[in-house]
Symmetry: C2
Subunit: 255 residues, 2 copies
């Protein structure tokens, strides 16, 4: 069996907590995330996410920056923590999955006195999956279609591999103003690599928020269905079924 | 844009709630999961998970069965709900990911008056990932090495595809008494399909429980490291780094 923990964080004096807030409403926060937010001296994050939690968790100081200023925000959090303030960086969904835990941990190399604690949260694959039923009940992949930070060729290759392996798939960032046709391109790659036209798929929009909506459809239908950036897309494996309007991937217990 | 929700659950009279309790301690439950558990008439689940929550959520009736009696448990829950009791089926981790939401939804076809509500929770990929740092900060796969319900050839194929796509990977059920060498076999498949020997990997044991421990190591080291069934295994992508003992997959913001 392997060695005991190589890193231990015993109430360090200087900490940045990176907290996944899930879909946004306090109803979907873990107790751990609530406790950490309640004891924060400063909370920072993308403006939209701060708006979601500001009322529930009043604190001395808030700091937000826009969509492309992630590194500024991480550095602000680390600088502030280095002065001895309890700093919480909030992320939508999970802190790790496409979240800020990664850049904070990278930049923390420059702040040897500051510890980084990661507090997990419900990533959209899970919270949206629950709305649909059980789309990810067997082996699955999570792939972002955003090519802002990843070359499109890498995304294409991963879509092809996901289809060849008959994985269930959750697609994040399926569309934006600048790339309205990315989901269509992705579906074509999935079909070209073995996903059948009648593969059961699902869409969930505004997960856990006002106006939440969901739909179950086939992969062929998905190819011509426009979606927006507030939508998470689910593609089943070859055993996934539509049952009474829900999307259900069998685990295999009934065989 | 797609149509509004095809299914709506407005306080139906007969409901089975399938609730993901995360690692087990109430500290990691969402507020939603806590609320649902607090209002249960009956709670059912695998014995180990009931033990974890029984003290915090007293209710009229508990029902547990052993490891291979999943279908019995689902049917009990649906039968009980059909009599008008509020029934909660608990799962470790998430309700959907290798959880009981899928078989409950399948069997619910026989109980047209019973609605099924799925309450998501922290699956081990996320809760263990937070312990390691940010191993799944980019596109990732979750694969179970258990061949109890899945043919080993399917698992092999998915491991090969995950490696070819340079995905980060979380491996569930990496070992058991009957199959002590499955992780070793899996690592060999990953290496044969493009994962480099020095790929950064991580292990987390007893996530969120007494005696939690973690370790960061290379893929070559992982091949000869015995693990038990309480361990979740993480394999990085080609950019994943070990930073101050944490496992960090860059998101790409710093490029």
């Amino acid at each position: 069996m392997f060695d005991p923990m190589e890193f231990e964080i015993d109430e360090p004096e200087k900490v940045v907590y990176v907290v996944g807030i899930g879909p946004g409403d306090v109803y979907y926060l873990t107790q751990e995330a609530q406790n950490v937010l309640e004891h924060a001296d400063a909370i920072c994050g993308y403006k939209l996410y701060l708006d979601l939690i500001e009322q529930e968790f009043p604190c001395e100081e808030y700091y937000s920056t826009g969509m492309t200023k992630e590194i500024d925000r991480c550095r602000w959090a680390l600088e502030k923590a280095d002065t001895g303030r309890r700093v919480v960086m909030v992320c939508s969904g999970d802190a790790g999955v496409y979240g800020m835990a990664s850049p904070v941990l990278e930049l923390a190399q420059d702040y040897p006195d500051v510890a980084v604690e990661v507090v997990p949260g419900l990533t959209a694959a899970l919270s949206g999956g629950a709305v649909l039923g059980a789309p990810l009940a067997h082996d699955f992949c999570v792939i972002s279609l955003s090519d802002r930070l990843t070359p499109w060729e890498v995304i294409e290759k991963r879509l092809a591999c996901a289809a060849q392996g008959d994985f269930c798939v959750a697609l994040y960032n399926p569309s934006s103003k600048g790339r309205p046709d990315y989901l269509q391109k992705a579906v074509r790659i999935l079909r070209a690599n073995g996903k059948a036209d009648d593969t059961v798929c699902g869409l969930v929009r505004n997960i856990g928020r006002e106006g939440q909506s969901a739909r179950v459809l086939t992969l062929a239908e998905l190819e011509n269905t426009p979606v927006d950036m507030f939508t998470t897309v689910y593609i089943g494996n070859s055993n996934t079924r539509a049952l009474s309007g829900r999307m259900v991937t069998p685990r295999g217990y009934r065989k």
